[in-house]
C-alpha cells in the first residue's frame, strides 16, 4: 500500500534548526491533521518535504512508497505524486490558470504523448463546477489579484486536476468562507475515497468536523509531542496550548 513516510526529519534554515526530529507515516486514504502554535515549523515541514531549496534537511529521510525522495527535484517529487497546497500561494502574473494547469498536466504525460485539449477542458470545467469556481477564472493569471479564499480554492482545483497520491494541505481552511469550506471539504472527501493520503495543517477544529481525520498530531517546537484520534483536536481546542506546554512538552 502506498505511503508517505517522514522519518526523524531535521530541517534547518541557514543555521537555525526548525524541525527537530519529526516522524510520521501517512497511508493512502488516510487523513492526518497537524495542529500547533504559530512558528512551530508546520509550513517548514511541508515545504521541506516538497523540496523547497531554502530548507536544508540535516538528517532523517522522507520516503514515498518506500523510496527516498530527498535527492529528487521539487518537480520530480510532484510528478511522483506529491502535492502541496500552499499556505501562501504565489502569484504568477500573465500565466493563466488554464495554460498553467495544461502545462502541469502535459508534464505528467510520457514522452511524445500529446494532451487531448478537448478532454482537458472538459475535465477542468467539471472540477471547477464541483468547486463552484466561475469558469471565467480559467483565463485569469494564477492567484494574481485573487482574494484569500479564491487562492485557496484555486489550490484545491489544481489538486483535483493533478490527482496526487499524497497532499500536504497547509492551512487550506484559513480564508475560506463557510460555504467554501464545505465545498472544499466535499472535494477533499471525494478524493480521499480514491486513495488520496492527506496531511492537513490547520489551526481550527471546524475543518476537522468536515474532513474527519484518522489521526491528529500536536506539533510543538519542531516536534510532534502528542498524537491521537479526532478527539485530540477537541481536547486541544478546550485546553489550549498552555496545556501542551505544561503537560506535553518534556522539560
Amino acid at each position: 500500500m502506498p505511503q508517505l513516510e517522514i522519518k526523524d526529519l531535521h530541517v534547518s534554515i541557514g543555521e537555525k534548526q526548525i524541525v527537530k526530529g519529526l516522524s510520521l507515516t501517512v497511508r493512502s486514504g488516510e487523513v492526518h491533521a497537524i495542529m500547533g502554535p504559530n512558528g512551530t515549523g508546520k509550513s517548514t515541514l511541508a515545504k521541506a518535504v516538497a523540496g523547497h531549496p531554502s530548507f536544508t534537511i540535516t538528517s532523517g529521510d522522507v520516503l514515498l512508497d518506500g523510496k527516498s525522495i530527498l535527492a529528487m527535484q521539487p518537480d520530480e517529487r510532484a510528478r511522483a505524486g506529491l502535492f502541496l497546497a500552499f499556505q501562501y500561494p504565489s502569484e504568477i502574473p500573465g500565466v493563466s490558470i488554464a495554460n498553467f494547469l495544461r502545462a502541469a498536466v502535459q508534464a505528467r504525460l510520457g514522452e511524445g504523448e500529446e494532451l487531448d485539449a478537448t478532454a482537458y477542458y472538459k475535465r477542468l470545467y467539471s472540477k471547477m463546477d464541483m468547486l463552484q469556481i466561475d469558469r471565467k477564472f480559467t483565463s485569469r493569471a494564477i492567484n494574481d489579484g485573487f482574494s484569500g479564499g479564491e487562492k485557496k480554492r484555486c489550490e484545491i482545483l489544481q489538486m483535483a486536476m493533478l490527482e496526487p497520491k499524497f497532499a500536504l494541505m497547509d492551512e487550506t481552511d484559513s480564508g475560506l468562507d463557510i460555504d467554501a469550506l464545505r465545498i472544499v471539504a466535499d472535494g477533499v472527501n471525494a478524493l480521499r475515497s480514491t486513495n488520496l493520503g492527506v496531511l492537513m495543517i490547520t489551526h481550527y477544529q471546524r475543518l476537522l468536523s468536515y474532513i474527519v481525520p484518522d489521526h491528529v498530531h500536536v506539533m510543538w517546537d519542531g516536534r510532534i509531542v502528542k498524537s491521537g484520534d479526532k478527539s485530540l483536536a477537541l481536547e486541544l481546542e478546550a485546553k489550549g496550548y498552555d496545556w501542551v506546554k505544561n503537560e506535553l512538552v518534556p522539560a
Binding site: 527535484q73 518537480d75 510528478r79 500552499f86 504568477i92 502574473p93 508534464a107
Partner: protein, 484 residues
C-alpha cells in the same frame, strides 16, 4: 559544394501550451550552415575598392555609386558611439569582415530554380511551407542577395511591388530614389553610413493608393558564411490609404568568430496609410546586430513596429516614427531577451512634428543569467505643437541575481498643450514563484519559460498567431538552455 555542418544539435522544444497551436516558422532550427562556393566575393576588409566592386557587380547607375562612396567617407569619419553605447562595439574588426558574398544577383521566382543547398536551408527553416499557407509574398535572402523572391499573382495584379533592393533600384529607379535615404540619412549614425556604403539585398515595397494587402509580405534574412557582414536595405512605401503588413525573420549559424548584421529600414506611410512591421529575430550569440529603423507617418497615417529581439551578442536598435502629418500615429512594441553573454540595447524614438499626433511605446525586456538589457527611449514633442500624446511603458524582468537592466528614457515634451504618460517597472521572478510552479510538476526551465511568457503575454497576443507561437518556442528554448 554541399556539405552540411551541424554545429550542434538542438533539443526539440517543449510542446506549446497555446490554445490552438499552429506551426510557425522554425527559427529554432537555424544552427547549421552549408559550405558554399560564392561566385561573387568582395573579399575581406572594407575600402573604396570593396564599394566599387559591389556597385559594379550590381551594374548600378552612377548616382548609386556616388551615394555609396560618399557614405563610405562618412562611415570612416564617424567615431564609434562608445561615449554613450557599450565599449563592446570596439571589438568589431571591420578588416576581418566579408562585405559581399553571392551566387548571383537575380533571385529565382520559383523554389525549383533555387540552387539545392540554398533551397534546403530555407526548407529547413520552413519558409516555402509558410509561404503557401499564409503569405502574400516572400523574399529569402541568403548572405548578400535574395535567392528567392515571389509575390502572389493576385497581389501583383493590384499593382503592389515587392522585390529586393537590387531589383528595385534597377526597375523602379524614380520611385526608389524619391524616398531612398530620406527617412534615414546616410550620416544618421556610423552604422547607417556603413550600410549606405555596402548595402545589398533587403526589400523594396510599394503599395499603391488605397490597396490593402490582405496577407503579410515576408522577408527572411539568412547568414550562412562565417566572418560575414549582412547589410540589407529595406524601403517600404505605402501610398495614400494603402495598408501592408511586413514581417522579417533572421537567423545565422553559431560560428566561433563574430558576424555583423547592420541593416537600414525606411518606411514611408503617406496620408491615411498603415504599415505594420514585425520582426522576430533569433541571431546566434556572436552576431553584432546594429540596425537603424525609422518610418515617416504623414497625415492620419499609422506606423507600428513590433520588434522581438532574441539572441545576438549585442543588439542596438531603436525603431522610430517621425509623426509628420496631423493626427499621425506611431507605435513601438518591443520585446528583448538577453541571455548569458548577450546585451540587448533596444528602445524606441518618437519624433512628433505635427499637431494631434499620438505615439505609444511598450517595451518589455527580460534578462537571464548574466544577460543585460538596456532601454533607450526618445520622445520629442516641441513646444509649438498642440494635442500630442505619448504613452511610454517599459517593464523589465530579471531572472537571476546577476542579470542587469538599465533604462534611459529621454522625454522632451515642451508646451502645456501636450500630454505624456510614462511608467516603468522592474520585477523579478522569485524563488518562491519558481518553487510554486515546480511543485506542480514543471521543471525549473519550464517554470522560468512560463513566467517569461506570462510577462510578455499581453504583447504577444497582439501578434499574428504564427509569430506568437514562434516567439514562445524561441523563449522556451532559451529558458530551457539557461538552466544549469
Amino acid at each position: 559544394m554541399s556539405d552540411v555542418t551541424e554545429t550542434e544539435s538542438l533539443e526539440p522544444p517543449i510542446a506549446d501550451t497555446v490554445d490552438n497551436p499552429v506551426s510557425g516558422i522554425d527559427q529554432t532550427a537555424g544552427n547549421f550552415s552549408y559550405k558554399m562556393d560564392y561566385e561573387f566575393d568582395a573579399g575581406t576588409g572594407l575600402s573604396e575598392k570593396t564599394v566599387r566592386y559591389i556597385s559594379s557587380v550590381k551594374k548600378e547607375a552612377p548616382w548609386i555609386l556616388e551615394f555609396r562612396l560618399n557614405a563610405l567617407k562618412q562611415f570612416l569619419a564617424k567615431p564609434m558611439p562608445t561615449h554613450w553605447a557599450t565599449k563592446d562595439l570596439e571589438n568589431i574588426n571591420f578588416d576581418k569582415i566579408r562585405y559581399y558574398l553571392s551566387s548571383g544577383q537575380k533571385p529565382k521566382r520559383t523554389w525549383d530554380e533555387v540552387p539545392d543547398d540554398i533551397k534546403k536551408t530555407f526548407e529547413r527553416l520552413g519558409i516555402p511551407e509558410h509561404e503557401r499557407k499564409f503569405l502574400a509574398g516572400v523574399e529569402a535572402q541568403f548572405d548578400s542577395e535574395a535567392a528567392y523572391s515571389n509575390i502572389k499573382d493576385i497581389v501583383s495584379k493590384q499593382g503592389v511591388i515587392f522585390v529586393n533592393s537590387t531589383e528595385g533600384l534597377r526597375e523602379h529607379p524614380e520611385l526608389f530614389r524619391k524616398f531612398f535615404g530620406k527617412v534615414i540619412p546616410t550620416g544618421d549614425n556610423k552604422f547607417s553610413a556603413l550600410n549606405s556604403a555596402v548595402f545589398s539585398g533587403g526589400s523594396f515595397i510599394y503599395v499603391p493608393k488605397g490597396v490593402k494587402v490582405a496577407q503579410p509580405l515576408q522577408a527572411y534574412f539568412r547568414i550562412n558564411a562565417e566572418n560575414f557582414g549582412q547589410f540589407e536595405r529595406t524601403l517600404i512605401i505605402a501610398d495614400e490609404g494603402a495598408e501592408v503588413v511586413y514581417m522579417e525573420g533572421c537567423t545565422a549559424p553559431k560560428f566561433s568568430t563574430s558576424t555583423l548584421h547592420s541593416a537600414v529600414v525606411e518606411l514611408v506611410a503617406l496620408k491615411g496609410a498603415k504599415i505594420q512591421y514585425i520582426t522576430v529575430q533569433n541571431w546566434a550569440n556572436n552576431v553584432f546586430n546594429l540596425v537603424t529603423k525609422r518610418g515617416v507617418a504623414h497625415e492620419e497615417a499609422e506606423i507600428k513596429w513590433i520588434d522581438c529581439n532574441i539572441g545576438s551578442r549585442l543588439t542596438m536598435k531603436y525603431p522610430g516614427v517621425v509623426l509628420k502629418g496631423r493626427k499621425a500615429r506611431g507605435e513601438v512594441i518591443s520585446i528583448a531577451l538577453a541571455n548569458d553573454g548577450q546585451h540587448q540595447d533596444t528602445g524606441a524614438k518618437m519624433i512628433h512634428a505635427a499637431d494631434e499626433t499620438t505615439s505609444n511605446i511598450v517595451a518589455k525586456s527580460i534578462s537571464v543569467g548574466q544577460g543585460r538589457s538596456t532601454y533607450r527611449g526618445v520622445v520629442h514633442i516641441p513646444k509649438h505643437l498642440k494635442g500630442c500624446k505619448n504613452n511610454t511603458e517599459c517593464d523589465a524582468l530579471l531572472i537571476s541575481p546577476n542579470s542587469r537592466t538599465d533604462t534611459y528614457p529621454a522625454i522632451t515634451v515642451r508646451g502645456d498643450r501636450n500630454s505624456v504618460q510614462h511608467e516603468a517597472s522592474v520585477s523579478k521572478v522569485s524563488e518562491e514563484q519558481i518553487f510554486y510552479m515546480q511543485q506542480r510538476g514543471l521543471t525549473e526551465g519550464q517554470a522560468m519559460s512560463l513566467s517569461v511568457n506570462g510577462f510578455i503575454n499581453d504583447l504577444a497576443r497582439q501578434f499574428p498567431m504564427e509569430y506568437s507561437v514562434e516567439l514562445k518556442r524561441l523563449i522556451d528554448l532559451e529558458m530551457e538552455g539557461s538552466v544549469g
